[in-house]
């Protein structure tokens, strides 16, 4: 694992890096969503994470948990769509689970993220294999036991592995068989989230 100090500033670094990656890849996310969805995932994520950066730029909260909770709330009230409540819940529940410690261990972060991802599953009524963000999130949290880089790689691989899947949740499910052969946009943005986490930990 890295030697990063997992404090509020780390959380801010993580989310700021995520915002930058999302901004860079927004058109690709929209392109993916255009194939099996409604062509808005890139602009949704960009709008949401721009909001997150804006609120963290002022006086960010003093604990990593509080940073994630604030970011989750911002996503919920800025994004809309399926990804807003889902990513908002992911961050909020992860943050809540971290409690008010000013600094956490990698193991604590992993277990908090695990709680966050379970909350996404519950809210979305979905499971890995449904061709959603969970196909990146679940293996990423799993691999976090090894390292931040391994988690990023697992997320990326999980996203790529959605290509042959038939979608059972979200808009892509409307396409039935025609959803096969396309990478899920939400899984792709989840991979960016974990790439940013690894970057923040470096």
């Amino acid at each position: 694992m890295s030697d990063a100090v997992l404090d509020a500033r780390f959380a801010v670094r993580w989310l700021t890096a995520a915002a930058a990656l999302i901004d860079r890849d927004a058109d690709r996310l929209t392109e993916l969503d255009s194939a099996i969805g409604d062509a808005d995932h890139g602009s949704n994520m960009r709008r949401g994470f721009a909001g997150v950066v804006a609120i963290l730029e002022g006086a960010p909260p003093g604990t990593p948990g509080a940073v994630l909770i604030a970011a989750g709330r911002e996503l919920i009230s800025k994004v809309g769509g399926a990804s807003g409540p889902l990513y908002g819940t992911l961050l909020r529940r992860t943050g809540k689970s971290l409690g008010d410690a000013p600094q956490v261990t990698a193991g604590e972060l992993r277990s908090a993220l695990d709680t966050g991802v379970k909350a996404v599953q519950e809210l979305g009524g979905s499971a890995p294999g449904d061709k959603t963000m969970l196909d990146a999130l679940v293996p990423a949290v799993e691999a976090l036991g090894t390292s931040f880089d391994a988690a990023a790689e697992a997320a990326e691989e999980g996203a790529r592995a959605t290509v042959p899947l038939l979608a059972r949740k979200g808009r892509a499910s409307y396409l039935g068989e025609r959803s096969i052969g396309h990478q899920d946009p939400g899984a792709t943005s989840s991979a960016l989230l974990f790439a940013a986490l690894a970057e923040a930990a470096r």
Binding site: T30, R171, S173, Y174, R178
Partner: protein, 330 residues
Amino acid sequence: MKMLINVPETVVADALRGMAAAHPELVVDVENRVVVRRDAPVAGKVALLSGGGSGHEPLHAGFVGPGMLDAACPGEVFTSPVPDQMVRAAAAVDSGRGVLFVVKNYTGDVLNFRMAAELAEDEGVQVATVLVDDDVAVTDSTFTAGRRGTGATLFVEKIAGAAAEEGMPLERVEALARQVVAGSRSFGVALSPCSTPAKGGPTFELPDGQLELGVGIHGEPGRERRGMMTSREIAEVSLDAILEDLSPRLPVLVLVNGMGATPLLELYGFAAEVRRVLDAREVAVARTLVGNYVTSLDMAGCSVTLCQADGELLRLWDAPVRTAALRWGR
């Protein structure tokens, strides 16, 4: 793709400013993206609230007014609104008799309205929610997101709106809304894709000489691509799909809906074919509404919705309504 816009980021706010300019009978909160009838909250009346992604105009803001919605919450283009909007709108329209959320069945809408309902209830507003899921092109199963909500939304908003206007209690308004959902089915066809401002181009490719059967209203491709058909054939295919799922024992309300870019001339021609098929299948038609009501930006194409209507639903359908896009009676 050319659009009549300033920049993609402001299309929804710009449209709301235009609504404010054109409709003094509405209160349009551009910043918070809430459209409310000017006389809200109406004392003693259950309030109806709906919303969803923009790009389906006149749905929903065009249906705010006496006899239909009390408030609408427009999201970004094809993106469901955020909970804050519905919470604010609910507070503005609740007279104390409760608020019915009319929600089209899409994951985003369901989740955001669910969060909003929880928050509004925390603030003491009684909320009931009805999910509209009428699109037979989508297989309904607990292992999927379920059928999409499309044209039936107009029937639900009109009929439940009339019930609320008559002073019926929340449970009754909700029950009527559910009855409309249960008795409604839709099917849509695209002749061309739509272009979203964010993408700046078509959301899928549809070569000349081909059409998409079973499309939704968010620019997603349909279930099946076929060679171009005549208006008559499209009516047959659409009604076959609907009548396979619904065998109306009562007269139906018919919505012949344009997706946005299909000329009204063609839409009326299609309405003639729809009536021909219904006559042939011995389905009695009570009312027919033709126009662009539940659209998908600049998509060319159409959808048909049937709604089985008993005497009470028909009476509520005929009841006065006074909104930007639907107006009759009184």
